[in-house]
């Protein structure tokens, strides 16, 4: 291979690494942004080539390129092919991406989780910290209400944007379905959220993705029927009802793979280790896209509240006790 421009690939997502062909054509570029592009393989799988500054992900090839270099200035346009000779990758005819220094990225697991009261305290602190910054677009406005929604309540919450108002009853239905392991309610909730809202990955998708990654990270709920049902509903609806980029993201989320920023935040919120980095981790996440990071944060918070509630619900033999679980002070005034 010869080229005038060579950059190293710093990391490759674990699920993506399993798909690298031995040689020949791997994919074709179909969307180009300032610091990233999306490709589709012959088998229809979508993956991403991105500036390493955007962070790692399960389907991301992170490449080291100079600051302020745009992908189009590297000659990457829609229709360009990505080929491999078994060692390096070539985009178009001029750009060589070397793999000698590439590491395979896998998210660090949460490990042993902190006590429930401690997790709830961290959630309270985080919501307080981000509250002044919450934007009015997408689904970020649900963040202060996530504890109440997880308890299947959404009444009395007003003055939200049109997307959030539409989403609120659907989120309540979904959370109620998760707690009761009610497949129909889960499916109805998911159907109303997939592909909903602004952005290339619509807000509803980002929220569902964050929720799935959070629930998968909570080991005590990961094998529960309702979480598997949620994953199944999301992938089913996403395949037909949202953008292909979003559908691929949700497919990974359903398996527990989120972005590096999502996993870092989950370790801070759930792990027994030091949580002092929680705010920085959240800020890293909310910088993603215009509202994508915020929507994913809403999903993570909702996922954790739901996960804790599912755990309690399953553990308690007394239905009266199930409905009286107090999640935090944010629950005040929200019907159980």
């Amino acid at each position: 291979m010869t080229s005038s421009t060579v950059y190293p690939i710093s990391s490759m997502g674990g699920p993506l690494a399993k798909r690298v062909p031995r040689s020949g054509r791997w994919g074709t570029v179909f969307a180009v942004f300032r610091r990233s592009c999306y490709l589709e393989s012959g088998g229809g799988q979508v993956f991403c080539l991105a500036d390493q500054g955007l962070g790692e992900g399960p389907l991301t090839l992170a490449v080291k390129i100079p600051s302020k270099t745009t992908f189009r200035s590297l000659g990457i346009n829609e229709g360009c092919h990505l080929d491999t000779d078994g060692v390096d990758l070539v985009v178009g005819h001029e750009l060589v991406l070397t793999t000698a220094e590439t590491v395979i990225w896998e998210p660090d697991p949460v490990g042993q989780t902190a006590p429930q009261d401690e997790i709830l305290r961290r959630l309270d602190v985080l919501i307080d910290q981000v509250d002044p910054l919450i934007p009015s677009d997408g689904l970020a406005e649900v963040i202060p209400h996530t504890a109440g929604i997880a308890n299947a309540g959404s009444s009395g919450i007003v003055n939200m944007n049109a997307v959030a108002e539409l989403a609120m009853p659907r989120l309540s239905r979904l959370c109620g379905g998760l707690t009761r392991s009610a497949s129909e309610a889960i499916d109805q909730g998911v159907a109303g959220l997939v592909g909903l809202g602004p952005g290339l990955t619509p807000s509803g998708d980002d929220l569902l993705g964050g929720m799935l990654v959070a629930l998968r990270a909570m080991q005590n709920t990961a094998s529960l029927f309702s979480v598997d049902a949620l994953a199944g509903c999301v992938t089913k609806h996403a395949a037909a009802e949202t953008t292909r980029i979003s559908a691929e993201m949700l497919e990974q989320s359903a398996r527990g793979y989120g972005s590096a920023a999502q996993h870092r935040l989950l370790r801070c919120l759930l792990g027994v280790d030091d949580s002092s980095d929680t705010v920085n981790a959240a800020l890293d996440l909310i910088r993603t896209g215009h509202t994508s990071g915020w929507d994913a944060l809403a999903g993570i918070l909702l996922g954790i509240y739901c996960g804790l509630r599912i755990g309690r619900y399953q553990a308690s033999p007394d239905p009266a006790a199930q409905s009286s679980i107090a999640f935090s002070r944010r629950m005040a005034g929200t019907p159980a």
Partner: protein
């Protein structure tokens, strides 16, 4: 009203681009409402509920982009669609290479422009040192805009520059004016007799703007990066800058601006200043205790805030106290009116800053005045007043700096208005090269909306703006002030004064003077 949809098949634009497109379309003449959204079923329902779904949009698939708009008068559809297509394509053309020779290396650039003597470098931190070293090796002075450069690299680069007789400004240096040439974020200030070296970008801008408004210009303004006065770097480039200004015949007074330095750097700087024959004004911002006292010894005058620094320079130059240092009758009456009309239970302060040093200065001024003020980055909420530097790296990755893009601040402002505890919002607006071309136009609608939200809730919200700019800046400072004032903001030019006004409103008292007295 005529609703139209334009469907772009398999069109992918990132979320920020879609949001901007929606905003820009709503700004078009004849467009009452507009949005650009992916054509999923749920989004089509959303459009239908908003009355924005036309027949053509119903056939869109999830991978299509629906551009929906409501025309105020029929017959304008083609013009709007043409405008949308131009906006969607302009991003490609801008980044697609362009015409003319664009050197791809520093050597190539020097062949094109052999008389160049300075390289401005902005690459990721891990590559920045290598590029800076290359520039120094080529005999170029360096302004290193990049941050996240390892400290040991900064030390090595500055030592290398000194050994070669070159300047190494930065890393994380965003502002300089050399021989009248503005670099990075800088203001259109006149040439004059004040030379400055600063470890703070917005702090430097505030001082030179206050001086310019008072009719005083600058010889040079050098940035050295925020870590230059740390123990490790030990003032290496600050001392070089001070030495150069000491030798510069156009410079009559030398100003140094920095956050509190390491002891060793402090000693070196004071030693250099005391041995120079020219008057020095040294501002270690927010310095507390014995060091924090305003004092003069020989030719060296110590200050601890930006306003005091500018006032001291003017005094040394024999100038009268300028108008920006005090409240005019109009503003005084407005403050009295705000205090009279506000509920003492709803007066906490929310600061939303684009200039890091301006935020820092306001924080320590409020704390000095006894406020419980936090920056939002503490591990546990401080409670009380909250001043956020929205230009901090934590908030800007993947987004333009808030001096350029006001969306995040406008959103935060509206959010603050909905908080019943907040009675005062403090904002900075920085003008000049590199900044937004019309900040007041961006901010004013949010100020109006914020005040409306508070009013509807039976409260009163005061917006205090520190307008940092020079009369010759490209944005037209007078017009900026008028627009902001018209929106209901109380506008002053000194950041410190803005913070003291906020304190007075918050407490329902008179505006404190820097020395602790009050002025009503």
């Amino acid at each position: 009203m005529t609703v139209k949809n334009h469907v772009l098949k398999n069109m992918y634009r990132d979320s920020v681009a879609l949001m901007r497109l929606s905003q820009e379309m709503e700004g078009l003449e004849n467009v009452a409402q507009a949005t650009a959204i992916m054509g999923t079923d749920n989004n089509k329902d959303l459009l239908a509920q908003a009355g924005l779904l036309a027949d053509s949009g119903k056939s869109a698939t999830p991978n299509d982009l629906i551009v929906a708009f409501d025309l105020t008068s029929p017959g304008q559809e083609e013009a709007v669609i043409t405008s949308v297509q131009q906006r969607l394509m302009s991003g490609r053309q801008r980044t697609g290479g362009g015409a003319g020779y664009r050197p791809r290396s520093m050597e190539g650039a020097l062949q094109t422009l052999p008389q160049a003597n300075l390289a401005m470098i902005s690459v990721p931190g891990e590559h920045a040192a290598r590029e800076a070293r290359k520039a120094l090796d080529l005999g170029l002075n360096v302004l290193l805009f990049s941050d996240n450069v390892p400290l040991e690299d900064e030390v090595g680069l500055k030592q290398q520059a000194i050994s070669l007789g070159l300047f190494m400004m930065g890393p994380d240096c965003g502002t300089a004016i050399i021989n009248g040439v503005p670099l990075g974020f800088a203001n259109a200030v006149p040439s004059g007799r004040v030379g400055l070296v600063s470890a703070s970008g917005s702090g430097l801008q505030q001082v030179i703007c206050l001086l310019a408004e008072s009719g005083e210009g600058i010889s040079h303004a050098l940035g050295v990066g925020g870590r230059d006065l740390s123990g490790e770097v030990n003032g290496a480039m600050m001392l070089e800058g001070l030495r150069a200004l000491g030798e510069d015949s156009a410079t009559e007074i030398i100003v140094l601006i920095s956050k509190p330095p390491a002891q060793s750097a402090r000693a070196r700087v004071l030693e250099a200043a005391s041995q120079c024959g020219k008057p020095y004004v040294i501002s270690f911002l927010g310095e507390q205790g014995e060091h924090g006292k305003r004092a003069s010894r020989g030719n060296v005058h110590m200050e601890n805030n930006l306003e005091g620094t500018a006032l001291r320079v003017l005094k040394l130059l024999g100038k009268e106290t300028p108008g920006w240092a005090s409240l005019d009758d109009k503003n005084r009456k407005r403050i009295e009116s705000i205090i009279a009309g506000s509920d003492p239970g709803h007066r906490s302060i929310r600061g939303l800053y684009s200039g890091g040093t301006l935020c820092y200065e306001s924080l320590f001024i409020l704390r000095d005045l006894g406020h419980l003020a936090g920056s939002g980055l503490e591990q546990e909420p401080v409670g009380g007043d909250l001043l956020i530097d929205m230009g901090d790296d934590r908030y800007t990755v993947g987004r333009p700096h808030p001096m350029i893009d006001f969306r995040s601040r406008c959103e935060a402002l509206v959010q603050a208005a909905a908080d019943p505890e907040v009675g005062v919002v403090l904002l900075d607006v920085i003008l000049g090269y590199g900044a937004h071309p019309d900040p007041a136009a961006e901010l004013s609608p949010a100020i109006l909306e914020a005040q409306k939200i508070a009013r509807n809730d039976g409260r009163r919200l005061a917006c205090v703006v520190a307008l940092c700019g020079s009369p010759d800046d490209p944005q037209d400072m007078d017009q900026q002030e008028k627009t902001l004032t018209h929106a209901g903001a109380l506008v002053v030019h000194s950041n410190a004064l803005a913070a003291r006004i906020a304190s007075a409103i918050s407490r329902g008292g008179a505006v404190p003077l820097p020395g602790g007295d009050t002025r009503g």
